[in-house]
Structure formats: structure tokens, C-alpha cells
């Protein structure tokens, strides 16, 4: 596989730490929340963007509220610059709270309303199949997003059309906007619901880079679904598995504490 920059770059541990710090810095500078779900999704996004996404491939962020992780991944590739990130969530920015419709070439669709991304990715994958160009599509959904009926419509379509060039990553962090996914609308475990479909289903540790890589290298004769078992707020202990970090911005003291923890864990 060739990465988006044309060179396969296997990420090292320090790359994940650096991206996590930059994500927190960006959110702190802008006073913006939605941090927990960014931290749960960031590791897989970094691996896809650096190690698997070719020049013709597309990545669709269906859970648009993790735009911060998307911007950070593009920053880590040099596709966005520090000056872009400094404007995140501010007036006259390209980087809105959810992925923009125009202005960033690596972002194919404005998302943010849940339940659209998988269909958009399926249409893109079908286009690539009709063209016969061999390009791949990656789509990252949340776990709460599977409460949207349109996501199931998209799954039925993608399986029926055997979109083997489409990989669905599910950021399964167990928490949504106002409760845990099992409390709000239990399908727990989601993978049992998905097992009935004609797709290649894998359930992995969403923060283990080698497990993510192995899953992305797996069978590709059918639609590929990878359940990333993740931790909301991953890497910052006071955020982990806490629903409030779906929304809250960081205070200065919390930001310093979070950075110290990341730097400390990196040194270990």
C-alpha cells in the first residue's frame, strides 16, 4: 500500500503521541469540545492516512464531530499547516466544527449529520468499481451512528453490491451524546447485529496499531467492517470513558495536565 503522500510511512509510537498533543493543542487554542470522540478515533485515522490511503483513494469521516482528528491527521501528513489549525473553529476558517464541503481537497464530503457517510462512501466505492480503477474507500462511523436507519440502508447496499473496495471502521467507544450506547438504544453487542450480513467482520483493539494494520490487510472479497474497540478520551486518564468529554473544552489546567500525561507516557 502507498500512503497519501505517495510513500508508505509506518508510524512510530512518537507519531501517535505528537498527533494526540497537536489535537489537544488545537482544541485548547479554540476552546472547543468534542475531544473524547476525537481521541478514540485518532489512532486508526492516522494509520489509514499514513499507511493505507493511496493518491486515488478516499476517506469519508461519517462521524463528522471528529473533525478535529481528521484535521490533525491531515496536519501530520503536511496536508494542513499549523496556520490552518490555528484558525480551527474560528471566524473565516476553512476548518469548521464539522468537515467542510469545500476548500480542503482531501475531504470529499461535508459530514456532521450522522447517517450520511456510509452511503456517500458506498457511492464512491461503486464509482471506483464502475471505473475499474482499483481505488479504495475508507469510512469511519461512530457506534451511536448505527441508530440511524440510513446507516443500515447503506450497509444493505454495500453488502448487496459486494463493495470489496470499501472498508468501514466503527469507532466503538460505547458512549454517545447523552448516555452510553447500551443505555440509550441497546444493540449491544453491535457486532452480533452485523454478523448476519455478508461482510468480512473483524473486532479489534482500536488503539493497537499492529491490530489495526492486520485488520486493514485482511480479506477483501467482500465489504470489510472493522469494529475498533476504543476508549473515549483515549490517552488522557481524566477523560477516558467519561461522557462529558463528548462536549467539554479544556481548561488551561486540564490542558497542561493532559499534555504532561501524554509526554510522561511517551517517556515510559
Amino acid at each position: 500500500m502507498i500512503g497519501i503522500m505517495g510513500i508508505k510511512t509506518k508510524l512510530a509510537a512518537e507519531d501517535f503521541f505528537a498527533a494526540r498533543k497537536r489535537l489537544l493543542q488545537m482544541h485548547f487554542d479554540s476552546g472547543v469540545g468534542h475531544i473524547g470522540g476525537n481521541l478514540s478515533a485518532l489512532d486508526a485515522m492516522l494509520i489509514v492516512f499514513h499507511e493505507y490511503l493511496g493518491a486515488e483513494d478516499k476517506f469519508v469521516l461519517s462521524k463528522g464531530h471528529s473533525a478535529g482528528a481528521l484535521y490533525t491527521a491531515l496536519w501530520s501528513l503536511g496536508r494542513l499547516q499549523d496556520q490552518d489549525l490555528k484558525l480551527f473553529h474560528k471566524d473565516n476558517t476553512l476548518l469548521a466544527g464539522h468537515p467542510p464541503a469545500k476548500g480542503v481537497a482531501d475531504i470529499p464530503f461535508a459530514t456532521g449529520s450522522l447517517g450520511h457517510g456510509l452511503s456517500l462512501a458506498a457511492g464512491t466505492a461503486l464509482a471506483f468499481q464502475l471505473k475499474g480503477n482499483g481505488a479504495q474507500v475508507f469510512c469511519l462511523t461512530s457506534d451511536g451512528e448505527w441508530q440511524e436507519g440510513s446507516t443500515w440502508e447503506a450497509l444493505i447496499f454495500a453488502c448487496h453490491h459486494r463493495l470489496s473496495n470499501l472498508t468501514v471502521l466503527v469507532d466503538h467507544n460505547n458512549l454517545q451524546g447523552f448516555g452510553s450506547t447500551s443505555e440509550v438504544a441497546s444493540m449491544s453487542p453491535l457486532w452480533d447485529r452485523l454478523k448476519g450480513f455478508d461482510a468480512y467482520l473483524q473486532i479489534i483493539d482500536g488503539h493497537n496499531p499492529d491490530a489495526i494494520r492486520a485488520a486493514l490487510e485482511g480479506e477483501s472479497q467482500r465489504l470489510r467492517i472493522i469494529i475498533l474497540r476504543t476508549v473515549k478520551g483515549h490517552g488522557v486518564s481524566f477523560m477516558e470513558n467519561r461522557m462529558e468529554w463528548h462536549y467539554l473544552p479544556l481548561s488551561e489546567a486540564q490542558f497542561k495536565m493532559a499534555i504532561e500525561e501524554i509526554e510522561g507516557s511517551h517517556k515510559c
Partner: protein
């Protein structure tokens, strides 16, 4: 119009980038298109939200995408997908809704589409086509297909009088001439008035126009029509669409901005999604006072000095 639609799309299917999506509809009508397009004819199933977003995904990669369903299933169910995925990205997806207005008649209000173009024209860069006669479909498909905008085609059934010679397609067409008021109708409804208007004495016969392309911003009034309105100052608009967001209000805004005064204005429109009883399209038109007798009563009223101010 479905046969003419199919013929026009089959003729277009030589374009390798053309893809057609249907929401499980088209039995006994679209089989020739299915055969011609092969794998580029996709029955997306009973899943309109997904179908519209898939269409956006295909269009983003350069395909010319047509989406077909019964009208309300084409725009009402997947409205957010049209808004976010098609129009926010200005993708030229063409939505084809069959049975616009009260076209599905006694099938009931779930199948009617009387707020369709008003709703869709709130979206950025959207174009609407309301073909009047079956013969219009070829030109409508060609014009919609050539446009870089997203578009909605409201299909009905052509209703010209017996023996009528259908005029060549144009976005605006004058169907009768006289010294009476100006009447403008949207789409196939126009055909139901032609015969009655032609039988009126010339001094009462309206200058009767039909419009096929909306909004006015994209399809301004012909100068001749604007002059007729200015001269007559009596204007009636008929449309099988609810009052809010319809062509009538768009037209009045346009005329106000152009400083064209209208002293007497009457609007015939779809008055309700459902009434006390169900019935055919013509029954529902009568319930809404869109039928020819209601139209003639308006014209008669226009002909009196105090006329329409009190009815």
C-alpha cells in the same frame, strides 16, 4: 410521460458516465433503459436516503447520475440527503419524481407531491423542470442533463385537448392569445385549460402562458409576457402546488422588484394534502378549485369593474 422519459434516457445511455438509480420503481416502463445501461442501471431498493447519498458519491467521481422514484419518495423522505450531500457540494444529480402534484389521485396523500418544488427551491442552485406535455420530455432530459446544477424533474401526464398540436418546447410558452387578463399555469395543468380558453371570445380570452422551468431567477419572464402583465394588470396563476413556496409568490416578488404593478391577482393552488374524501387527480383539482370551471369563474370575475376584489 414514462415512455418518453425512458426513450430520452435510452438515447442518452451511450454516455459511459451515465448512471441511473431507481428506488425499486419502473416496472413495465423502464426495462429498455435497464437493458441498455446494464450494470449502470441500479435498483437501489426501498431505501431512498441511501439512494440519494450514493448518487452524490457517484456524481462526486464524475458520473452523470439520474435518480428516479415516485415524487414524494424522491424528495421528501431523503430531503436532508439532497440538501447536505447533493446541493452543499453543488453536484449535478438529477432527481426525477413521477406523479407530481395530485398525480397519484386516489392512491392518497402519502403519494402526492404538492410541496415538492417549493421545498426543493429553498436549496442552493437547485433547478426544477415541470414538463407540460409528453413531447417535452426529450428536451427536458437534454436540458437537465446538460446543466451543471442539481435538478428536480416533476413528472406528470400530458393533458392536451384532443387534436391539439403541441408547441415546440420552450421554458415559457404562450398557449392562447386574446385581450383578456394574463393567466400563467405551471406544468401539465395548463393543458386542461386550453380548450376552454380557445372557445372564449377574443375580448375575454386570456393571454395564457405555461412555465416549465423554475425558479424565475434562473428562467426570467419573457419581455412579451412582462409587457402583457403591465398592460392588463390582471393576473391569475394556477399551480398544482401549495400556496407557500409556490410559483405564485415567486412571481409576485419578481414583479414587485421589476416595478410591474398588478391590480388584480388571483391564485389557484393545491389547497390541502387531503380532503374529506379521496378521489382522482381531477376530483382533487376540483376540491382545490384548480379545475377549468373554477378558472373560468375567475376570468368572468376579472371582467367586471369591481370584480375580484370581493370574491
Amino acid at each position: 410521460m414514462r415512455k418518453q422519459l425512458c426513450d430520452a434516457l435510452v438515447a442518452r445511455a451511450t454516455k459511459s458516465e451515465m448512471v441511473f438509480l431507481t428506488g425499486d420503481l419502473g416496472f413495465m416502463a423502464l426495462e429498455p433503459l435497464q437493458e441498455t445501461l446494464g450494470q449502470r442501471f441500479i435498483n437501489a431498493g426501498v431505501a431512498e436516503q441511501n439512494m440519494v447519498s450514493v448518487a452524490a458519491g457517484l456524481a462526486r467521481q464524475g458520473f452523470e447520475v439520474w435518480v428516479y422514484s415516485i415524487a414524494p419518495f424522491c424528495y421528501a423522505r431523503p430531503f436532508e440527503q439532497i440538501r447536505n450531500d447533493i446541493t452543499f457540494h453543488n453536484l449535478p444529480v438529477k432527481l426525477i419524481g413521477n406523479g407530481g402534484g395530485y398525480g397519484y389521485g386516489v392512491m392518497g396523500p402519502t403519494h402526492h407531491a404538492i410541496e415538492d418544488y417549493g421545498v426543493l427551491l429553498t436549496l442552493p442552485d437547485m433547478s426544477v423542470f415541470v414538463p407540460v406535455f409528453d413531447e417535452d420530455m426529450e428536451a427536458v432530459i437534454a436540458r437537465a442533463g446538460a446543466s451543471s446544477r442539481p435538478a428536480y424533474i416533476r413528472m406528470g401526464r400530458g393533458e392536451p385537448p384532443n387534436g391539439y398540436t403541441v408547441p415546440a418546447y420552450a421554458p415559457w410558452r404562450q398557449l392562447t392569445c386574446g385581450s383578456g387578463p394574463v393567466v400563467i399555469a405551471v406544468g401539465p395543468l395548463a393543458g386542461t385549460y386550453i380548450d376552454a380558453f380557445e372557445q372564449l371570445p377574443v375580448e375575454y380570452r386570456p393571454n395564457f402562458w405555461v412555465v416549465t422551468e423554475l425558479p424565475i431567477e434562473q428562467n426570467p419572464l419573457p419581455t412579451e409576457l412582462a409587457n402583457q402583465i403591465e398592460k392588463s394588470s390582471s393576473l391569475c396563476v394556477a399551480e398544482e402546488h401549495v400556496r407557500h413556496g409556490g410559483f405564485g409568490s415567486d412571481l409576485l416578488l419578481y414583479l414587485a422588484e421589476k416595478n410591474i404593478a398588478v391590480r388584480r391577482f388571483r391564485h389557484l393552488y393545491a389547497r390541502a394534502h387531503h380532503f374529506e374524501r379521496y378521489g382522482s387527480q381531477n376530483f382533487l383539482r376540483r376540491q382545490s378549485a384548480l379545475d377549468v370551471d373554477s378558472m373560468l369563474a375567475i376570468l368572468k370575475n376579472f371582467s367586471t369593474p369591481e370584480g375580484s376584489q370581493h370574491d
